[in-house]
Every structure is written in structure tokens, then in C-alpha cells.
Symmetry: C2
Subunit: 307 residues, 2 copies
Amino acid sequence: MTPPGRRGIFRADMALKTPKHVTIIGVGLLGGSAGLAIKAHDPRIRVAGVGRRIESLEAALKAGAIDTAHLTCQEPVAQSDLVILATPVGAFSRHMRAIAPVLRPGAVVTDVGSTKARVVAAAARVFGPGGPFVGSHPMAGSEQKGVPFARADLFHGATCILTPTPHTPPALVARVEAFWRLLGMHTVRMAPGDHDRTVARVSHLPHALAALLMLLPADADLAVSASGFRDATRLAGGDPEMWRDIFTTNRPAVLAALKAFANSLDRFADLLARDDAKALERLLTLAKRRRETTILAALADRRIAAE
Amino acid sequence: MTPPGRRGIFRADMALKTPKHVTIIGVGLLGGSAGLAIKAHDPRIRVAGVGRRIESLEAALKAGAIDTAHLTCQEPVAQSDLVILATPVGAFSRHMRAIAPVLRPGAVVTDVGSTKARVVAAAARVFGPGGPFVGSHPMAGSEQKGVPFARADLFHGATCILTPTPHTPPALVARVEAFWRLLGMHTVRMAPGDHDRTVARVSHLPHALAALLMLLPADADLAVSASGFRDATRLAGGDPEMWRDIFTTNRPAVLAALKAFANSLDRFADLLARDDAKALERLLTLAKRRRETTILAALADRRIAAE
């Protein structure tokens, strides 16, 4: 075992180490934006992009998000000190198995997936429980898909949740944390299960509500809908394949969030059915205040912190 | 009865008539924006503002949204050819009773309220079924409250729903329609009950969902929420007093929309519980396509039409 002092120095060293060669597997909105942000931070960092479609890879090259394009991951991964999985979550296990045999000693693997318990468990199976994987979820994105919508500042000022386990080497967590901070992100750590329950409530449930809301009105209703409806359904514009994977890989937490929301909806309908105007106004006031004192305040703080 | 030809001429005349003197009762976001839009269109049109609070009236005067400020409506209404009710819906009946005795012959009364069946019924009681009231619902606004957020272009390019009854004089409908078009609005007509069922689905239900969503997560969840959650809850920032009135004056239609949504939520949870990834992807794809082909397309068309 490394003596505590020595280990401390080692950790600080590693945390400050900027990657020299990064492989991004999946060059869509998130992968492309990570590439652009890395190159904007330091053009000397080499970025290799791996994708299935020639068109996406060419677009990523043209946008300057990657330096080299690859249809298979083995060759670039063998040279990389950081590998980022940025495909839909459902394909992560396959990519982990492909990169495990060629990964350099000292290299670290992370991801940008929206669910973590199943991803972290898959990484433990492929790389071993104390292996070189640190789960990441940068809380940034848009309903747009693909590298044409990638932006160097997509991550800037947003939060990245890291989900180490008790087995994850602390030095690797520090390195991945330092990496996201290089891109201007605010980082927090959560256990994978806690992460999944949190994002079920603040991201996956809102997505389900937006999609269902989009399907409810008749065409004639939609013809007169306004900006409020457009914004309330913005999340419904997300990529169906990506979101299918998110819902199915976070099933128990999403089901719990759906159930909790259905109960809220019942209570609201009950207040209205009883014509309890005072209770309705209290509920609406509470929601308005909570939005102002939590999310709006937090987003403003993070923007300031990032500048 | 007026002969058809004569009536046609009369209607066209009236439709083209620009108001000379307008009283706006309630100088908040919508009333203030209407004042600014009228003055921007033609500074010669006199705009009187009626309010309860001196501060709001002074702010409206300073912003140039009104020419004169009044704490009671009788004096300005007696000079006006157009009166616009722009307070919360719950106060409309009271204002109607106050203006009825002083209204000039030939003047028309409209409103900017978000629910219509009860408003139109109240107008029929106060002014008589064929009286000078034409219900309007300009589908524009924001979660901001008060004249400081008023904008001359708030209504520009948005839809205004007019809700005449079979008893409303067609010439008055045409005049109110022409007025909103002067402000750059696209107008449609609906029966008051149809209006209420439509807005329950595209406006009131989304508002309830946003408020309930805002109250569901724990504080720790909110601390890591991102722009998706902020946008999904934007409507929860609306004025609680105004929304309390909207929900209670549109109770049956909102309850029906809440019930329909609860059923959708159940079906979604059922698909997820059965791990039916294909059905989930189909649902998400349908929602995404519907958003693109309806609301996004319609908003783009209206913007083009308004320019």
C-alpha cells in the first residue's frame, strides 16, 4: 500500500495532468461538443473520433471537433490517456469490451451517459471493480442531435455529476473531475444509484411529461398553441433512440418518479374538484418561489462561477 | 333587418375603423403591452389606463403605455370607443358592472382573459346577450408580471382567439378582430366552450404540470438540475393569483385535461414496466415528429405571416 503522504502527492499530480491524447467514441452533439471544447482549451491535445457513419466523422473533422477519424476504436484508444464514451447508453458495454484489451496502463475511461447504475456495473464487469472507469454525466445538451449542433461552450457553466464507487481509484476520479473543470464545468460526486434517482426526477420525468403532453391535444388545439406550449414540450424534441435507452436503463427510478408525479396530479385535481382556490394559490405560489430560490438562483451562480 | 348589401358595407366600414380612444383596465404585462402596441401603431390614439395601484399606473405612464392614469374607470370609459379588460379574470364581472352604465353608444368591450365561457356568460348578464362585448384571448404572455415587462411587440405574430356567441353583433366582432390585427396578431374564432377545452389542453394543463414538476424533486436534486428542467418548469413562474383564477374559472375543462393526462402517464408507465423498448421508441418518435410538423411549423408560419 502507498503511504498516505505519497498518495496525496500522487493524487494532486494526477488531478493537474491535462490529457495529451483523447479518444471520443461517438461524435454526436455531446461527443462533438467535447472535442470542440478540448481543442478550444488547448489545440495541442490530440482528439481522435470514432463513429459508425462516415458522414458524421467527416462533419466532426470539418468542424474541428476531432483531429483524426476512425471506424474502429482499437488504434486510437491504444494511444490515448483519456477515452470518452459518447454513444447512446445502450452501446456502452460493447464499446467497453472492445477497448479493454487495448487500453494503455494509466489511461482512464469515462462517459457522458444519462444513467449510471447499469453503466458503472457494466464497467466493473469489463474492467474489474477497481478498474480505470469513472462514470460522468455532464448535465448539458439540447434537443438537437448530431455534430452540426455541437458547440465548444455546451458544457461551460453546467454541472457534471461523477459517480465513483468505493472501489474507484481516487486519483482517477480526480483526473476526470479536473478534465470536466478544464471545460468550464462545475463537478459534484454522487453514488450511481443516487444519481439515477435524482436525474429520474429532474431530467427523465420531465422528458416523459413533455412527450406525453405533445401527444395529448388534437391538431386543432395545436394550431393555436403558443410559446408556453412550445417551451413545455421542448424536451420532446430529443432523440428517440437515445431516450429509449435512458428510460430502459433507468427503469426502477423512472417508474418511481412517474408514480410520485401521478400522485401529485391526483392531489391537484382533487383541490380543483373541491374548488379550493386558496389551496391552489398556495401551491402555485410555492412552486413559483421554489423555482426562483433554487434552480434560477443556482443557474445564475454557476454562470457567474464559470466566468 | 338591414339589407345584405348595406350590412356588408357597414361591416367593412366598422372593421376598418381604428379606435380613437381606448381604456385599458389593468395595466400589467398584457394591459401595458397592449398600450405600448397601440401607441407604437398610431401615437394619436388616446390610451387611458385604469389601475388599483398608483405605482403601476406611474410605471405605465413612464413607459409610454398610457396617456392618462385613473383609479376608477367611469370617466375614461365614457370617452372610449374601445374598452379592454386586462385584470385577472376573477375581477371581470365587477368591472363590467362598473362600466355598463357609462359606456358610449357604439363602443365595444373586449378582454385578454385566458378563460371564456364564464366571462362571456357574465358579459351576457351585464350587457345583455347581444351587448357590446366580444371575448378575446391573445395567446401571448410570459411568466413575468407587471408593466416593467410589457413590450410593444408582445402580441406581434401570436394568435388571438375571439369567442363571439350567436348573439354577438358581427360588426363588433369584425372591429375587435381588426384591432388585434392592427397589433400584428393572427386571429381565429371559436365558441367560448371550445376555446376553454382547447386552452385547457395547450395552456392550463402544461401550467399545472410545470408547477407540480417544480414541487416534486428534493432540494439536492434541484441543485444539479439543468436547462431542460428550467425550461420544463418555466410556466411555473407565472403569477399565482392570475393562474388560480384561470384554473377555477375553467374547472370542468381543466379536470378533463388532467384526467386524460393521468391516463397517458399510466400507459407510459405500463410500457416501461413491461420493458417494451420498441413501443417506447415509437411513442417518443411520434411526439418528436408531431412537435416538428405542428407547433414548430405553425410558429414559423405565423412569424413569416406577421412580417
